[in-house]
Amino acid sequence: MQTEKGTVSVKLKDDRSKTSFINHVKNNKSLYLILLPGILYYITFLYLPMYGITIAFKDFDMFGGIFNSEWVGLKHFKILFASDTFFQVFRNSIVISVYKIVFNFPIPIILAILLNEVRSLVFKKTIQTVVYLPYFLSWVVIAGLVINFLSPSTGVINLLIKSFGGEPINFLANKAYFRTIIVISDLWHSVGWNTIIYLAALTSIDVSLYEAAKIDGAGRLKQIIHITLPGIKSTIVVLLLLKIGNIMNNGFEQMFLLYNPMVYDVADVFETYVYRIGLVESRYDYSTAVGLFKSLVGLVMLVSANGFARKMGEKGIF
């Protein structure tokens, strides 16, 4: 056994020819057997579907399968770029993501700073325990709560409106309110959870900075602006770029559970659109083309966001 390890490391250094690789595998059979299930998993469920993307350039034949379908080049992409629905979906995806960034990105930062300023440890822990909880609930449960809350007959909001003599509003079927509901329910779901990374970053700020500022007579707000915020700047930048890199993703579940045909105009995003035309209408080829467009734009966004982070002297996302 001792000698086996010796020979392996010598081989590593000396030659990397095929035969030595085969010998290496033979000598470490059990090691490669351990790796095998994982590699098979990635091939089957992640790389085979990548081959399946070819149906975006074919007319899918239900009986022949992907391989036997006829190539049609960019036909589906031409249909796509000529379709109004496609641009509407594109616009919705971006607009809803931007709303989420504008409103739901800064709030966890503020919340983390507020939590950090709390002196009573018991109070702080209690609030943290409560606000982390929604993150563990599924979107089905949250959708149930939202529907309850906004119900025209028994929801809190509409009961308030009625008690002031107003007419109840069917919020979820109203284009004017739908995106607001999406943004707020997303906030309820994840605001507490998103403070965790900031809270960790806050603990790494040098305490002596605060003491010096106190001696100089700086109040709490001044300390937050001049010490706390600069102290977590790089965390903020990296997370913001990550969010921008993911701008094409809105998540299927939240939208699918809350939207309805009345609000498709403002609510339909790539995830829901691909699902409907692909699995409900069974247009496999066309919806794969839509999905591919989304993935490619998403990939470009993510890689550029990462490059930008590195340029700014941050560590980068990957």
Partner: protein, 290 residues
């Protein structure tokens, strides 16, 4: 100690008020659902906004526990969560070990092969076709196998394995232990905190799994709680009446809806103390990977 100025005190008070409101906003919808689920329908109609039930009544729970569809959905969800999580953890550990500890040849190639899937994937339809061709559609395995490894969790385990000093396995190697024995008798016992973390990550994901279920499961006998809950909640209310027409008169949709929500989140609440502890560790482990 520097004395607190008036503005400092004002800051503190405002801060406590904001955080308290936030806590209430977070907790209220959940308490409301719990209270409704424990009430009679008439009590609910009288005060739909209640936080505490006026009179405790288990009618809604008795209804749902005697409904075969809810019971089978609950069973299926437990199966997917338990079996799925075991598969997840074993697959993740097996894949991380050769790449972190024993150093197979071509680690960089394997790592690129795995990490690339975080950036790009085949998308909905091509993945669906693979699962369909494997005849997994309409089986619970469709909710387990296609998501057997989460690359994010894989990275957490990989980082942890790499941080274990090599000297520990060297001595086992000298004693003639094979890789499987080193993995399961040395590496795994040393990694229990990180394995607990990813087991909880996977477990919550499996319990809450919804998207995959929508895509792969049609047969009602294979439904999971998420699918059932969606039908009860969104296609509103009279579902249970229709399922159980004999007792339709005494079924009270809103209380039953709420009770179904409660039984869905109950296991999560029970596991919550562990979740909070280990998830935070996990999120930090993932964040420092750099």
């Amino acid at each position: 100690m520097i004395k607190m100025s008036r503005s400092e005190k004002a800051f503190d008070i405002v801060n406590y008020i904001i955080l308290t409101i936030l806590g209430i906003v977070t907790l209220y919808p959940l308490l409301n659902v719990l209270a409704i689920s424990l009430s009679t329908y008439t009590a609910y109609v009288e005060s739909p906004l209640m936080v505490f039930p006026t009179k405790i009544d288990f009618e809604a729970y008795i209804r749902i526990l005697s409904n075969p569809l809810i019971l089978s959905s609950y069973n299926n969800t437990i199966f997917v969560t338990v079996v799925g999580t075991v598969v997840n953890v074993i697959m993740t550990v097996l894949t991380a070990y050769p790449l972190a500890k024993a150093k197979v040849r071509g680690v960089r190639v394997f790592m690129f092969f795995i990490m690339f899937t975080m950036l790009f994937n085949g998308g909905l339809i091509p993945t669906f076709l693979v699962v369909k061709n494997l005849h997994l559609v309409n089986t619970l395995w469709a909710l387990i196998l296609p998501t057997a490894i989460s690359t994010y969790n894989f990275v957490i385990v990989l980082n942890f394995f790499e941080s274990i000093p090599d000297s520990l396995e060297e001595s086992a190697k000298i004693d003639g232990a094979g890789h499987l024995r080193i993995l399961f008798s040395i590496i795994v016992p040393l990694s229990t905190p990180v394995l607990a973390t990813i087991a909880l990550f996977y477990g919550v994901g499996n319990w809450n799994r919804f998207f995959d279920a929508v895509i792969y499961i049609n047969d009602r006998s294979k439904w999971t709680l998420s699918l059932l809950l969606r039908e009860i909640i969104t296609e509103n209310s009279d579902v249970l009446n229709a399922l159980d027409p004999m007792n339709a008169v005494t079924v009270y949709p809103k209380t039953v809806q709420s009770a179904t929500i409660v039984v869905t989140i109950l296991p999560i609440i029970c596991a919550y103390p562990f979740l909070q502890k280990y998830f935070i560790k996990g999120i930090m482990a993932g964040a420092v990977k750099g």
